[in-house]
Amino acid sequence: MDHLTALENKSIFIIREAYYRFRNIAMLWSVGKDSTTLLWLVRKAFFGEVPFPVIHIDTTYKFPEMYRFRDEYAKKWGLNLIVGRNEGQVEAGMGPGKGTKLDCCNELKTNALKRIIEKNGFKGLLLGIRRDEHGIRAKERVFSPRDENFKWDYEDQPAELWDQYKSTAAEDNHFRVHPILHMTELDIWKYIKRENIPLTELYLSKSGKRYRSIGCAPCCSPIDSNASNVDEIIAELESSHTSERAGRAQDKEDAYTMQKLRSLGYM
């Protein structure tokens, strides 16, 4: 079996396992390349159907290309799409220009998602995160419990040897399930190429720039790149040493700093 097929098999096993154990699950779809790949795998796992809701957290700051893509494929693939917005905060003008970016993410992403989980009582959530994305994600498990405050206790996690996933938790908890945790950025692109998975054009170079990672428009910066198709992206990644989220690095450092200062009573 080739490398990509082995990765695909593992992902599909995890997806089916999650659905079998929890039933009341959903997946998060940011419309980026990773969660779109996850969505593709879910469709493969259930023979073209997606038997649970697909949640898109809409901060209202996403790129227009992302909204267009979402609506087009939600229809084409017959998705049960739940769009989550923290309406109160959106109306109050919350945004990256107001307060800190951490506040903005908290209100428009985290709290919006909390409400959807509360309302629907989901026991499991499929997410398209990958271990090589960011240092902290390297500690993630495939089945990762969260408490009612969304807190992730990374020092107290099951070991997950031999594909034995722990899937029982206290009443208030839900599980994050990460079917593509084991894939790298390069694996994803190679898989996208093999499967011909559709993506938004933001990833492709236009006048010397492209996005390597997408989220909310005000908080993402494009990288210098001439890669205008998937083959060129793969070639670029094979020779690149900068981090995937480099365009988001300063924000992360500032957000961390702010959280630390706040915990000691500054601000």
Partner: protein
């Protein structure tokens, strides 16, 4: 070089001279007591103003005042805006000790560097561990891993081999302060874990690297003080024993590094311990921005956040801890005070603050300094116009959202300027009253 010229500095963040004295008398710190009886003295020392770690540690590492090194706190506003930024090592304008003896000052200069130029070698190696305000790690002649705030261990450590080592021992950059209120036992456990990791890393680098200057800092003392300083002396406090136990482990570490250092230098090296500020119990937190709002000096636009809330016609605002900035025309986008009115506004604020009393009639502010009294140098133009220093017990805060002038929270300890400590060999040539800015000069003298 002659091993007897080595210098070892053990930084103990926020450890007050008064508390160390008491703990030695009570037998909590027998190792420190033994060191003192062998020819060392414990001095009370003044910290920088404002007495926050970023400013005070930068004063220690550069040996100059904030008017030269440029660090006035953990936060600043970006020029001509009300947008917050976070100064880090890259913002420091003066060379640090390791630059002055390691040949890495580059274009940086300072009055202290000038004084020692050509008199100290420029090829000495330094090991700097967990020193606050050193992120991102500079390429020094030696090894450095940054202390608070260090968002990324890899970027905070130089060279890469040191990072690989720290990762291999599960070294942690900081402990999770947010556990202090809801999981206090986990908080104390993690503080001890961090202390052990620091000790492990200190002894590793002491033994495995070639060095002339070693600076190792323990920051967990500061964290304990912020949340549990009321437990330091109160024997009935639920966490008194855990607090004291931490200090006994700290004392153990002091004893171990002292012995190791003395063995390596035949008893001739210069050993010191020091802190960047002292601590006192909090009676009340004081939110000066709220006072300014009530007195018509500040208007806030609640639709915005942090300092971008500062509204039209505002005359002044406060950033942590007691840094007061006058909203000058030309300096800020909504500047409302003309240069000619600046002194009048400053005087109005001084009077207001010095008259401020809490509900029991206690005076809140000990002194209001003008910038020129505290700061001199090329960075003095960015200094706060006034700095308010509170009486012990009144923790001056720059929080902009509080609905009242006075309040309390889960914090139990506040920084003080006057009760930092320094342990030095008895008879060392030092000023009558030590200031943290003096220490770099004392260290450099050793390398002449």
């Amino acid at each position: 070089m002659d091993p007897s010229n080595k210098v070892f500095v053990l930084g103990i963040d926020g450890a007050p001279q008064t508390l160390l004295s008491e703990y030695m008398a009570e037998g909590v710190m027998p190792n420190l007591k033994k060191i003192l009886s062998g020819g060392y003295s414990l001095h009370q020392m003044d910290a920088s103003i404002p007495d926050v770690s970023s400013t005070s540690w930068t004063s220690f590492m550069t040996g100059v005042n904030p008017g030269e090194h440029g660090i006035y706190g953990f936060m600043e506003l970006a020029p001509n805006t009300y947008r917050m930024t976070f100064p880090n090592y890259a913002s420091i304008k003066a060379p640090a000790l390791w630059d002055m003896i390691g040949g890495t000052s580059g274009a940086k200069s300072s009055t202290l560097a000038e004084k020692f130029k050509g008199r100290v070698p420029n090829d000495l190696r330094s090991i700097v561990l967990n020193m606050p305000e050193t992120f991102p790690a500079p390429r020094l002649n030696g090894v450095l891993t940054a202390g608070f705030v260090c968002p990324d261990l890899k970027k905070g450590t130089y060279p890469d081999s040191a990072y690989e080592y720290l990762r291999s021992i599960n070294y942690i950059m900081d402990i999770e302060a947010s556990n202090a209120s809801d999981k206090p036992d986990a908080f104390f456990d993690e503080a001890l874990f961090a202390l052990n990791k620091r000790a492990e890393a200190f002894t590793h680098f002491m033994d495995k690297e070639r060095w002339d200057l070693f600076i190792g800092v323990v920051t967990e003392t500061d964290r304990l003080h912020h949340f549990f300083f009321d437990a330091a002396r109160d024997k009935a406090h639920k966490y008194h024993e855990r607090f004291v136990f931490f200090y006994s482990r700290m004392d153990d570490m002091i004893g171990r590094v002292f012995e190791r250092f003395m063995d390596a230098t035949g008893g001739q090296g210069l050993f010191m311990t020091m802190s960047d500020h002292g601590f006192a119990p909090i009676r009340k937190e004081v939110y000066l921005n709220r006072l300014f709002v009530e007195k018509g000096l500040l208007t806030l636009d609640p639709a915005r956040e942090y300092f971008e809330q500062i509204g039209q016609g505002s005359k002044a605002f406060v950033m942590d801890p007691g840094r007061i900035y006058i909203n000058l025309e030309g300096r800020y986008p909504g500047g409302a005070v003309a240069a000619s009115e600046k002194n009048a506004v400053a005087n109005e604020i001084k009077t207001l603050l010095l008259d401020l009393k809490d509900s029991d009639g206690n005076a809140v502010i000990k002194r209001v300094f003008e910038a020129a009294e505290l700061y001199s140098g090329p960075e003095a133009g960015r200094a706060p116009d006034l700095v308010a220093v509170g009486n012990d017990g009144f923790d001056i805060k720059g929080n902009i959202k509080k609905p009242e002038v006075f309040g309390t929270s889960h914090f139990r300890g506040m920084h003080t300027r006057h009760d930092a400590h320094c342990v030095l060999p008895s008879g060392a040539a030092i000023p009558e009253r030590l200031h943290i800015e003096n220490l770099a000069g004392i260290i450099l003298e050793r390398f002449i």
